[in-house]
Symmetry: C2
Subunit: 245 residues, 2 copies
């Protein structure tokens, strides 16, 4: 995917920088966080359309493919600039490039993964990373028996090497897939080494300095949220029959 974006980038670079990036007179506001979180979804939808050789899509089409309503999609896109054509819709490849650029996917990002258990393995082999401009630069595990083991075309390193490798490969994103008990220590080491974005799969709250971004994915939390709704459905959607006051 990145490759086709790269092709586009030559053709479009003239307009690429002449954005106004939505927003008010202060002239520098970012995109609302909720919109940012949806841009990758739009990108995915556009990529799928592009692969089916669709040239143009209306906000309605795109919104359908992304699973949102069209007003929200148009509002989100309006923060990036004016990339549509009234009466027509959006040029799929053009918009795709604009979004990729906005997210920062026209450059490659190096990530390291720490904690190569079941999940770490799965992440290391996850094709979705590499296809979207992320390069797994190194894998780490604290268990000395695992160090040296091959996973895909990488070899697991010991935590002691983390600082050096992060610096030499200019890694800016770290993925934590350790048990909860190790997560804060690993996080501290990553931050110390210069990583400034962290994706945390460990079920633990991390504290980091203000300049570091953390996002978390907790698999069991997602299931618990589903369980809550499941329970409500089973209860007849209210608590009408639960009784008492």
């Amino acid at each position: 995917m990145l490759s086709s974006c790269a092709e586009l980038s030559g053709a479009l670079l003239t307009t690429a920088r002449s954005r106004r990036s939505g927003r008010d007179e202060r002239g520098e506001r970012g995109i609302p966080e909720a919109s940012v979180a949806r841009l990758p979804i739009y990108l995915r939808a556009l990529t799928a359309l592009s692969e089916r050789n669709v040239v143009t899509a209306s906000s309605e089409d795109l919104a359908g493919a992304a699973g949102v309503n069209s007003a929200k999609l148009r509002k989100d896109l309006s923060y990036l600039g004016t990339y549509g054509t009234r009466g027509v819709g959006y040029d799929v490849n053009y918009l795709r490039y604009q979004i990729a650029r906005e997210i920062g996917l026209t450059q490659d990002w190096s990530v390291v993964i720490v904690g190569i258990g079941n999940l770490g393995h799965a992440l290391a082999n996850y094709a979705g990373f590499v296809s979207r401009g992320f390069r797994v630069a190194a894998l780490f595990d604290s268990d000395p028996r695992r160090v040296g083991e091959r996973v895909g075309d990488l070899q697991i390193s010991g935590l002691g090497d983390l600082g050096a490798i992060v610096k030499s490969s200019s890694v800016s994103i770290g993925v934590i897939a350790t048990p909860a008990s190790a997560a804060q220590d690993v996080c501290d080491r990553l931050v110390e080494a210069g990583v400034s974005s962290i994706l945390n799969f460990a079920p633990a709250v991390l504290s980091v300095p203000g300049h570091v971004d953390v996002r978390k994915v907790d698999l069991s939390i997602e299931l618990q949220i589903l369980a809550y709704h499941e329970q409500r459905k089973a209860n007849g959607l209210g608590e009408l029959q639960v009784g008492a006051v």
Copy 2:
């Protein structure tokens, strides 16, 4: 964890049903979605405190452990009922039980996992599910060569058996860990079999009937969101130097 909740449940069952479940005169409103999403985090924090034999915690303590501010925590808890003591704080085990009950973790939930690739394997072995009241009832894969293979103490079944197994084990939650191309078909089969909550790891938008809940986790989307912020940091937090208008 569930086992200790189960112990508690005998002692506390008298109060268990006498809730008012927050909220206004219509007397039946659910808890705001944003609050629901945090309840599992509070539960985790309470479990950690409980394991350290902490008996009582203030909203400030708890909020710290959960990584939110105390006003938000108190507001969230207020939707569940009045479980604190002014001037004192919250009884850790009591509150833990109340939240577990609200989420629905005082009962066990059966889940099936479809798509036993790298990620499916990791999920099948994930200790966090079982420790939080989720039982993996069966694993499915469409690849006939994989059917019969053991993963943990389960054997992979073919998709053809999905309907029967979902019904016989009263499974209400399905986890999709297939490639995107298979996801909608698997989803349809799950819904057809009677599953009413789905956790989707495939990078695809699923359409489901209204009574079915879907939550999604997309690993590469999380990285892309981090990349966006990373790019902004690299740009000096605005677009001041990007130039042009």
